[in-house]
Amino acid sequence: MTAALRVAIVDDEEPARAILREYLQQEAGVEIIAECSNGFEAVQAVANLKPDVLLLDVQMPKLDGFEVLELIERDVAVVFVTAYDQYALKAFDVNAVDYLLKPFIPERLTQALERVRARLTRGHLPRSEPLSARLRPPRGPLTRVLIRDGANVHIVPLAKIDYAEAQDDYVSIHAERRAYLKEQTMAQLEATLDPAHFVRIHRSYLLNIDRLAKVEVTDKDSRVAILRDDTRLPISRSGFARLSVLLGE
């Protein structure tokens, strides 16, 4: 017998957690290491306890199940547990191992856990590239950016973002005099944002157009964007072209 499967239960409804607890106690080789009643707790539990399996509800306060996945390391097997069947395709998209529709019988959970074991013994779970770029578009316009900082989660509304700066495989998102580091490339972030408000003014800079105070010409062919808080960002030649289109000049 291999080591016990370490399971985290994530559901905001106590009866839903209780039935998973009860079913899991009947299973051999399973250990419940965390019970989370919201998405924040789930992100923390994954960061601190590194479970093998996440039994994950979709509709929860603050962070829904898909947003939790966006924020965690992807070497955890995910089994969705929900009353809604309309997320099944999206669940497949994010590489979920199984999708349980409430209510379900214990055998269905057993089957899901067998699939998890099969996936785990076949080797590491395929770590997909950061999900947000693929996940976001079908979910309607993005209204906020989620950033994980250790076991904490920051929710930054788009309107509060000043600009984003590329840093290798990360972007540094500047909002309200703070900088948040998000594990995402500039191109991925740009693809999820509304192009009417965010413009790539430079290979390394994405600007919230509402923050622009003026454009200064420093010397021939070289321009600088000056933000309302006097931050100065370089503008590339093609960046200036995009900016001009957006400003209608």
Partner: protein, 355 residues
């Protein structure tokens, strides 16, 4: 807008209808005044065309004196006067035209135009009467078509509302989640599981029973709401609190069924369910003058405000009140500072009769 002048096609069709009239007038000239056929045609064609336009005016007295509401003497007076006037005008036009043709040396027979006047006058009056008849036919046809469209529209709306109400009763996810809670309780709390089965059965039975009626008492609607909230409280536990503020004697007021329940369901689904700590759903009912005022208030997560966009239940309630009470009822929502309030106003009547 004049119905015939409204489009080129209609005007064309109308003028085509006048071709037999032109032929009739030509025959009259040929027989009464003994004009040669060519001269009779030269006389009748332009005259008929002119009179076609004169008779367009018959529409206005027709519109001003509707058949249903105007007395017979007024009808005869109005249209008789209009007919005599129009025919008289026509005679004047005809004599001018006859003189013009005579001056051009077209035919000497125009000297006898005087013989033609009585016949022409009677023809003019008859043609005008025919126009009046046609306009009344057109008006009643349009009215019938309009009322048919309106009753069809009302029908569709009512059926849509009924369907929505039915769908709201058995929101499948509510049912799935409730069944899941029951399955869970069976393991840990069998008495609780039984209680929830009964609550769910009561709620479903009552919503089907009440949903089929035109009106129920507010007390019945409130008991439905309590059953619903009782089920949701098992799911959400301490996160869902309920507060009622009901004016005394208000329970006998009559309301369309399933008016409050969808609003309370929204309050739970879009409000409480999105809050980690949960909150209180407040239900208020009071009479204000001739109105019954119902409000449902709930807190919601401000960060998730965008999700509040699709409140189908509210739209359905609005439509149903609109079809039933028109401007006497209203649905208003207030949304700010993390609190959402839906307020319904409708005429206050009670089971004992109108107050």
């Amino acid at each position: 807008m004049h119905p015939i002048m409204a489009s080129r096609d209609r005007l064309g069709l109308y003028l085509a209808v006048w071709i037999p009239a032109a032929m009739l007038v030509a025959i009259e000239f040929a027989t009464v005044s003994g004009l040669p056929w060519l001269a009779a045609a030269a006389m009748a064609g332009p005259l008929a065309l002119a009179y076609a336009f004169v008779c367009l005016a018959a529409w206005y007295p027709c519109r001003a004196t509707p058949l249903q509401t105007s007395g017979i003497s007024r009808l005869i007076g109005t249209h008789g006067a209009a007919a005599v006037l129009s025919s008289g005008l026509w005679i004047v036009l005809a004599s001018v035209w006859a003189r013009l043709l005579a001056a051009l040396g077209f035919s000497t027979a125009f000297d006898h135009f005087g013989d033609q006047v009585p016949v022409l006058f009677v023809t003019g009056v008859l043609l005008f009467a025919l126009s009046v008849f046609a306009y009344y036919l057109l008006i009643s046809y349009e009215a019938a078509r309009q009322s048919e469209t309106r009753s069809l529209e009302l029908d569709v709306l009512a059926r849509e509302a009924q369907l929505m109400a039915l769908r709201a009763q058995v929101n499948p996810h509510f049912l799935f989640n409730s069944l899941h809670s029951i399955a869970s309780l069976i393991g840990s709390n069998q008495a609780g599981a039984r209680r929830m089965c009964v609550l769910l059965a009561d709620f479903l039975r009552d919503s089907v029973r009440f949903g089929g009626r035109d009106q129920i008492t507010l007390g019945q609607e409130l008991s439905l709401v309590r059953q619903y909230l009782g089920i949701e409280q098992i799911r959400f536990g301490a996160r869902l609190a309920v507060h009622e503020e009901l004016a005394p004697d208000i329970q006998d007021a009559l309301v369309p069924p399933l008016l409050l329940q969808p609003l309370v369901e929204n309050a739970v689904k879009h409000g409480i369910a999105g809050l980690i700590e949960g909150g209180t759903v407040t239900v208020r009912a009071q009479g204000t003058g001739a109105d019954l005022m119902l409000t449902v208030e709930n807190p919601y997560d401000v960060d998730r405000a965008a999700a509040a966009g699709t409140r189908l239940g509210l739209l359905n309630v609005k439509k149903r009140l609109d079809t039933q009470f028109g401007p006497l009822a209203s649905v208003r929502v207030a949304d700010g500072g993390g609190r959402y309030t839906a307020e319904i106003r409708l005429p206050l009547t009670s089971a004992g009769g109108a107050r």
